[in-house]
Symmetry: C2
Subunit: 328 residues, 2 copies
Amino acid sequence: MTDAARRPIVTIEDIREAAERIAGRVVRTPLIPFAAAEPGRPLWFKPESLQPTGAFKLRGALNAILRRLDDARAHGVVTHSSGNHARAVAWVARELGLRAVIVIPDAAPAVKVEAVRRLGSEVVIVPPDQRDTRAFELAAEHGYVMVPPYDDAAVVAGQGTVGLEIIADLPDVDAVLVPVSGGGLIGGVSTAVKALSPNTRVIGVEPELAGDAAESFRTGERVAWRTEQTYRTIADGLRTTSVGEIPWRQIQAYVDDIVTVTEDEIRDGVRRLALDARLVAEPSGAVTLASYLHRAGRLDVEGNVVAVVSGGNIAPDMLTEAVTSTTS
Amino acid sequence: MTDAARRPIVTIEDIREAAERIAGRVVRTPLIPFAAAEPGRPLWFKPESLQPTGAFKLRGALNAILRRLDDARAHGVVTHSSGNHARAVAWVARELGLRAVIVIPDAAPAVKVEAVRRLGSEVVIVPPDQRDTRAFELAAEHGYVMVPPYDDAAVVAGQGTVGLEIIADLPDVDAVLVPVSGGGLIGGVSTAVKALSPNTRVIGVEPELAGDAAESFRTGERVAWRTEQTYRTIADGLRTTSVGEIPWRQIQAYVDDIVTVTEDEIRDGVRRLALDARLVAEPSGAVTLASYLHRAGRLDVEGNVVAVVSGGNIAPDMLTEAVTSTTS
């Protein structure tokens, strides 16, 4: 691979433009101080769980769709996802009055399919291995605007607005902790943070059971895990088997480290967020607090820390199980 | 009573000064849109549950203490409360390095006493009927600055900053729903809202089982209920037996209505906030959503609605019970 092929694609200017484009249509989430932070390491949460769809995914979907609004109005939009990205695209389509088709793998829980249908989107159910191909076919056939979940410059730029806001609210932040799955969020956040505050460390957090990005980061080669592996974690938003090509370039340029946490540590993160910070987080959103609480030595950060809480769409029984569990 | 004795005491200027005084020391909470709002009645939450002490009480306590900071530094501060106000005063004292004495009734749960002690405050346990007298005695004896939980102009002005922020973020709000107990919050919020947006309705919400303020509002005479009555509600932040004198004047001048909700409706509010808005609310904080969901006819509001979620300090078992309950 040539050097040019490794260079980052998304720039701070892209992220600034995204911020202007989506302003007023997403919640400008505040930083919430963690009252139970440890001495010498004050912690703030960036609660993307408070977006109307319950996750940061709204930012990227909005930016990608607004950039191509004329096409989207003329033909509609399409994506593939069973989770928070599907919900975000369906929400944006409803808000803007667009036709939306969401390709969902047949393994997806009925409750998630229903949530997308309730927002007015058309649902196409396919075998898991056909999810991207079917979405691309539909886009080609009908002219739909494709809104990929993470491997897309406009989507990465939209997610990067989280990083812009963190630096605006806490310019002297020393470390930012970000969940990693397909890499759209950390790809965008790290790009914004390093542009505005080069000495701030950006650290990705992944479940040990879905640790493909940590392995890729360690070895310097983008690896893929098998779904039988990544589907073991309760963090259902972090089961992507490999980071995307575009996010990977941003990660290689701007991310300082990627660490992993155990399932018990994730449950403890959900519990502490609910009881000590009054935030309902899904397991994927709680990995960052889990690393702060249980992997301090591995993180090796001092000073002001921000943990991105990426989403809050958790099943009621999983929330109650986590809340009633004892500290791990 | 002469007309002068009925006039409101706290002004919009007091609230503006409070906002300047406490800026940067409290979370500037955003308005969070409720994705499951009903057509024609968009709803936003004002999540004061996200303050570092888990409740709006921080605003009033901070304003009252900062106004008399020299005295507070020289002698310390004192208050009486077993709940969110105690925690707020203890927090402020720790942040500012002040001595604090908190008078707590002996009926208070050990966990709440511990929370205050952990923040470094001195705790004085007394029989419930001596809580205010003992605090005033201590203030007189030692020169402590007294920080009353609600019947104080500086405290009411501090709580009123919630109203300032609501109007700043949503100038065309048609109705604001506010929990009522001692009346400090609604007294301040209604004063700010009516000064800046006279046509916005301000409606108080109370548990039916602790409906003293609703009765007072209906009859025009400030009544007191007995603690055996008000202690029946699960909304432990709303068990005050009577609104305070100063809040009552603000309420009479600026509040449009006070409605009540049942215990099942309150539990449903807690559940929907957790699952549909990703906010952990205590029962006292969920009464406003309860009224929106279950008392639409009684509220009689159209257009943009804001529900203040006053706090999120809930026992784990009560949270799990509410989350797993079926819709009432």
